[in-house]
Structure formats: structure tokens, C-alpha cells
Amino acid sequence: MTIEQQEIKHSPWSLSQVSLWILIPLVLGILISLLIPRPAVGVIYLSDAIYYYSAHDIIQQLTAARNSAEIRAVVIVMNSPGGTVTDTESVYREIIALKQQKPVVTVIEGMAASGGYYAASATDYIFAKASSEIGNIGVIGTQPDKPAVYEDIYSTGPYKIWGMPRDSFSRELEMLKQGFLQAVKLGRGDRLKLSDETILRGEIYSGGDALRAGLIDALGSQSEAEAKAAQMAGIRHYTVKDMFDVAGLKETVVAPMGFFRKDSDGNISSYPAKAGLYLLYIPGLGDNQ
């Protein structure tokens, strides 16, 4: 018996033992590690006005992000003039819910105006381009018609048809404005450098001005936003996933319903098709009044 043969004979790690104590646990460990979710940054594109159908899609994606173990952070790529009050608020609340669990970062491409900024203000960090249009904080709406009665339409009260007195409309507008202001202040906190009065002027700021005003956190691109989101989520070597796919919305795209008014030639204007209250920026509104 050689010395080598003796060492093998007395070694505690026989081949079978190596298999039992090392290889099998290792394989099991590898298999288990495969169960560990590979982190991803989910990207949600909000490139439309916020109305029922677009909000529905966004909320589906936000919900999917919240429920997905894989999605560790979310980047909202924003290019929106805002939209209806209710749908904007729905999106806002879903972002707040997601933000409790995972970092949410916004990158403003062309515009985050009015309701767009309302939603963006809920996120943890906001990037924008220097030329992005940001702000327009406030509410806009069309007064209800003067109450009237009709020959063929019967209702049970003077505002059954019209919803509210005209004066109540302006009060509600004011209430929503105050709520918007609160949302911005809650979202931006100490970073905000504007007074309430200045914020409520409804101005649109360029990215640079918005940065100085504390409406955004940095100038940057989508990839920088993704990196920031990853950093906030404490992940690296992440993948980027389009939440539209993650939420399985490709197959469930609903036919878009016109939010903006179309003229007789079918051209889409910047006016909402229906009267009501909006967190919306309407460029050139005064030109046509």
C-alpha cells in the first residue's frame, strides 16, 4: 500500500461523501438560488392624457409592479398634460401605495403638467430634461350650464340635470386646488423651494427652472432614472422590464376612447371632449376663446 493509497483510505471525503455533503447541497443551493427573483426595474410609460382608459392601464401596471417580487423599483416615463381629476387621483393613490413598498422614480420627457405633475409628485425622485415642461399646478374646468328645464326631460330637483349650482363649481375647483397643493407639498417636502402662492400661479417651468424650484430632483435621462430607481431599491445587475408586458396588457388593450375633442375634420384638439373638472394643461386655450 503506497502512501497515497493510505491517504485516500483515511480521508473523510470519499467520493460518495463529497457527493453527499458538497455536491448535492451545492446543487440544491443553486436550485434554490434560482428561486431568488432576479431584480428588475419596471418601466411604465405614461404618454397620454390621464383619462379613464389610460389611467386604467397605468393602474394595472402599478398594481402588477406592487405584486411582482421581481420588480424591485419602478420608473414612470412621463409625457402627459394631465387629465381628469378623478383618474389622476386614482393614479396618484396607486403610486402612493406602490411607493410604500418599492421606490418609484419619474423621468419627465416632454411634459408633466397639471395632473401629470400631480402624479409625478407622488414619486420618490423626479428626473426631467432641461427642456421638459413641468408644473401647471392647478385645476381647470367649465362651469355647468345655467339650470334650465326641458319639455321632454323630467328630473326630481333643480340640480338633478346640472349636478351643482354654478357657485358650488367654483368652490369645488378651489377645494381641488388646495388638495393639489397639499399633494405637491407632501410629495416634495423640504425639497420644494416655492411659496404656496407661487406654486398656485399655475406656471409651467422648464426643467432647469423646475430643478431650481425644487419641483424635480435632477436633470437626467431614462437610463439614469432606472439607475436611480435601482440604487434606491438596493439592486444591481438588474433588468429593465416594460410593465405593460409584465401586466399582460398587450392582449387586453381596450379601444381608446377619445378624451380630446375632435373637430369636424377629425383632427384632435387639446380640449377635453366633455365638460368637467380637469387637472389638465390646455395649450393655447385663450387663443380660441
Binding site: 455533503w21 458538497i22 447541497p25 410604500q100 421606490p103 378651489e174 431599491a233 439592486i235 445587475h237 380660441n288
Partner: protein, 508 residues
């Protein structure tokens, strides 16, 4: 031995996972809790309590006419300001509406005030002159623009939207002679407002009849107005003008005296509308404004001829004027000229009532024209004796006023002042022997002269029409029934006209 093997196995089991975690995860996620806006606690200001004014019953017979302009594509309707209209009617104002601007000067003759709301179609030069003279003669001019009614856009199929004049532009052209300017802005207040930044509250007021009993006024989107006159109301320091985004002292009103009349520019139409008139003391302002435009009644001059009377009129022939068939023809002409209603005219040589009257008289051709002028005054006392009024009439001299439009430099006005505005120019009639030189007519023999005089007494107005003979007086009446005082030289409340020699129907 077994323990170390177990440890090794555990390491092997966990290592891939740890490596994986280490590879992908660097830190604990940074998540933040967030609060939502607390909508239920948001305190929304409620509309200021309104000072209610009970509705009054209009008098059976209106005492004056308020002319509302609706002929300049106005961006407003009277139905929108119905409560304000009711105030006017309750104070004896009869509302008349101009639906075309064919002859505004004629319409203004019967009016106490002219109101134009958000006009966007330009006034003609003739209209502006007529309005200016109307104000000069004691009329009230109210011009209201409104930033929410500033322009009407029309859709042009090829070029998109086309814009016409704004109501500010049109209003300012009308207001320029009175040194009033409505700014093309709107006022706003971000910190102290009535529920919206554009609803500006005014709490400081100048002492003026228009601001009596007003503690708080709210405009719901209004222009600032500047003038050298009264601004009536001023804002607090937090009000801004959209034109400059600078805060300052602004007023949506300007009240300027011009001649014997006044001009009020209002930068906001909405405070008179049904929707906003019941907010704060806006209703009090509307009531005061109704007082302002209905009272006092404008003292008519011959420039208002023939709209000198309202109500009953006594036709009083004196001297050689006989009441015959020819005379009745003349009266019918007068009835038509005065637009009198049935029963308004009565004929009597006796003057027993105190109703307004028209004296038809003659003078003697042998009279010196200068004496005729004097006689015109004296006709009221004591000649003609039978028509002498019990009320001393010494006002004719004071009413010999020019009706020409004053040049701006001629009218020196202090804000709130009440200067005598007119100069007496009887000297423009040059008397020479038996002739009188009338500007524009040359020398007239007294036999060619027809005179019209207007005298305001304490509670009545008297119009005197006289020529050399009864025939000439009748012919003169027919002429002025047809052409009014066109071609006559009007100096204040006396008009000198050339008359034909007979009472044949003049050719028009």
C-alpha cells in the same frame, strides 16, 4: 467530523443563494411612507353674505329713458343683468335698446344715460361725437368691458381662428375723449380672494354716491381702469394686474365728470349679472348705479330737440296766433314731431297748469333784431302778457350755452369738480340795424327770422317758437317738423333759423 460535514453542506447549500443575493442586491430598499392630501379638512371660503335690497315697484309712468347699446356686437345681453334692469325700472327708468346705430344722436336726445356693455364692434366717428355731446349736455355714459367677454373668435376655414376687435379696444376708443382707459388685463389676488384668484375683493371706497352703503364689493374677473377722475374703489396690496404681474393699487372703476354729465367706466360686467350680483354688496352697487343713471334727470337743451318733453304738453298760441284750421295742422305736425301719445297735447291760450308747454308766438318785423333776441327772453315775462308764467324766469341767460363740442383744452375739469362748463356766446349773433348776422346763414332781415327758445323753469320746460307773422310761424313749425333744427344756428337754448314767407308745406 460529522459536524464539519454538516457545516460544509450548509455552506454549499446557502452559498449559491448568498452569491445570487450578493450579485443582485446591494442594499435594503429605500421606501418611504406617504400621506395623502386631506381633502375633508380643506376649508373653502364661502361667498360673502349679500346685502339684500327689496324689490321696488316701478312707477306707472317712467320718468326717464336709459338707452342700452346692443348695436355693437355686444358680448352681453340684458337678460344677464335682469336684477340691475329691475333696479333701473324701479327708479323710473325706461329701458330702450339700440338695435342698430343708424342715428345714435337722435336716440340719445331722449335718454338720460347711455350704457354699452362689452362692445366689440367699433363706434363710428359720428357716434362718438354724438355720445360726447350727449355727456357734455348732462348725459351719463356707462361703459363696461369684461375680460371674460373681451373678444369673439370666429372659425375661419382656411386660416383657423380669426379675432376681431376686443371690447377693451372698442371701449377705449369711446372713452379716450374722457381720459379714461381700460387696461387689457385682468385683476387677480392669490391670497385674499372670493374663492378664486380672479374674484377680487374691494373693501376701500371713495366717498361717492355710487359707493354708499357698500362695505365689500367683489368683481369676478375684471379689468383695471385708470383715469384722472374718481376710482371709487381700491384693492388691498395683494392684488395683481395680469398685464405686469405686479401688485399695486388698482380699481375696476373710473368716474369722470365731463361738461354737465359723467362717464363711468367699469372693468367688470359680471358683478352686475344675475350670478354674481347677490354676492357681497354687489347688489348695493347695482342699486346705486341705477340711481346714478336715472337721477338727476338731464336738463335738456335745444340740441335734444325735439325730444324735450315727456308726458303732457300744453300748446299755447299767443299774440296774433289764432286757433284755426291751419293752426290745428301745425299742432298735428308738432304731435308727430314730438312723438306725443294720444291725449298728451292740449291747446289753450290760458296757462293754468304747470305742465310743459310750447308757446307759438310772433314778433314785430319793425323790431330791432337785437330787441327780438331780448324779446325772446322777455316773452316769458311780461310779454306776451297773457302767457306770463307765475314763476320768475331768469334762467334764459344762464342757459345760453353753446352746444358745440368742446375741445379738450377748453374743458378744464378737476376730479370731482362741478365747474360751469359752457361759455355764453350770444355775441356770435351780430346785430346790425334791422338785420341779424347768423353764422352760416349770413345777414337775415328780422322778417326772415324764426326763433326757437327753450327755458327751464322750476318744474316745467317751455319751448317758444316764433316768427314775424302767424303765417311764418306756422310755416316755421312745419319746417322744423320736417327738418328739425337742421340749418338753424343753435346757440345754447336759442336757435335762429331762416324762415320762408308763407306757411305752405315746405319741400323736404
Amino acid at each position: 467530523m460529522t459536524r464539519s460535514k454538516l457545516f460544509t453542506a450548509l455552506i454549499c447549500l446557502l452559498l449559491p443563494g448568498l452569491l445570487t443575493i450578493g450579485w443582485f442586491y446591494s442594499n435594503v430598499p429605500n421606501t418611504q411612507s406617504s400621506n395623502l392630501p386631506d381633502y375633508p379638512t380643506i376649508d373653502i371660503p364661502q361667498p360673502p353674505v349679500s346685502t339684500l335690497i327689496p324689490r321696488a315697484t316701478p312707477p306707472a309712468v317712467p320718468s326717464t329713458t336709459i338707452l342700452f347699446d346692443m348695436s355693437h356686437s355686444n358680448m352681453a345681453t340684458l337678460s344677464e343683468i335682469d336684477p340691475f334692469i329691475r333696479f333701473i325700472e324701479a327708479k323710473g327708468g325706461e329701458i330702450r335698446v339700440t338695435e342698430n346705430e343708424f342715428d345714435l344722436a337722435q336716440l340719445l336726445k331722449s335718454a338720460n344715460a347711455y350704457v354699452t356693455l362689452a362692445p366689440i364692434q367699433g363706434f363710428s366717428g359720428a357716434d362718438i361725437t354724438a355720445i360726447k355731446e350727449f355727456v357734455y349736455r348732462g348725459g351719463k355714459l356707462i361703459v363696461s368691458a369684461d375680460p371674460t367677454r373681451n373678444v369673439m373668435s370666429t372659425e375661419n376655414p382656411t386660416t383657423g381662428y380669426a379675432r376681431g376687435f376686443t371690447s377693451v379696444e372698442v371701449s377705449n376708443i369711446l372713452l379716450e375723449p374722457f381720459d379714461i382707459s381700460i387696461a387689457d388685463d385682468y385683476l387677480y389676488d392669490m391670497s385674499s380672494n372670493e374663492g378664486n384668484f380672479r374674484n377680487v375683493i374691494f373693501k376701500e371706497f371713495e366717498d361717492n354716491d355710487l359707493t354708499q352703503d357698500i362695505n365689500q364689493l367683489v368683481i369676478y374677473g375684471g379689468h383695471s381702469v385708470t383715469s384722472n377722475g374718481n376710482s371709487l374703489a381700491t384693492n388691498n396690496e395683494t392684488t395683481f394686474s395680469s398685464a405686469t404681474d405686479q401688485s399695486g393699487k388698482f380699481s375696476p372703476f373710473a368716474l369722470v365728470k365731463y361738461g354737465q354729465g359723467s362717464v363711468l367706466a367699469i372693468g367688470d360686467f359680471s358683478l352686475l349679472t344675475s350670478q354674481y350680483i347677490y354676492s357681497a354688496d354687489n347688489q348695493v352697487f347695482a342699486n346705486n348705479l341705477a340711481d346714478f343713471i336715472t337721477q338727476p334727470l338731464r336738463s335738456k337743451t335745444l340740441a335734444d330737440f325735439p325730444r324735450l318733453f315727456s308726458g303732457k304738453i300744453l300748446i299755447q298760441p299767443v299774440k296774433k296766433m289764432d286757433v284755426d284750421g291751419e293752426f290745428l295742422t301745425v299742432v298735428s305736425k308738432l304731435e308727430s314731431l314730438l312723438d306725443a301719445r294720444e291725449g298728451d297735447l292740449t291747446i289753450s291760450r290760458e296757462d293754468k297748469s304747470s305742465v310743459d308747454r310750447i308757446i307759438l308766438s310772433t314778433f314785430d318785423s319793425k323790431d330791432n333784431p337785437e330787441d327780438i333776441i331780448k324779446a325772446l327772453k322777455l316773452n316769458l315775462k311780461p310779454e306776451p302778457v297773457e302767457t306770463a308764467s307765475s314763476t320768475p324766469v331768469s334762467t334764459l341767460k344762464a342757459t345760453l350755452e353753446t352746444t358745440r363740442t368742446p375741445l379738450p383744452e377748453e374743458t378744464v375739469e378737476e376730479p370731482g369738480g362741478n365747474e360751469e362748463f359752457a361759455t355764453e356766446v350770444p355775441t356770435e349773433l351780430k346785430v346790425s340795424g334791422s338785420e341779424i348776422e347768423v353764422p352760416g346763414m349770413g345777414r337775415l332781415a328780422s322778417s326772415e327770422l324764426g326763433l326757437v327758445g327753450l327755458v327751464h323753469e322750476k318744474d316745467r320746460t317751455t319751448l317758444i317758437i316764433m316768427a314775424e307773422t302767424p303765417e311764418k310761424t306756422r310755416g316755421f313749425v312745419k319746417e322744423i317738423a320736417l327738418n328739425q333744427l337742421t340749418g338753424c344756428f343753435v346757440f345754447g337754448n336759442v336757435a335762429a333759423c331762416k324762415v320762408t314767407g308763407s306757411d305752405l308745406e315746405p319741400k323736404g
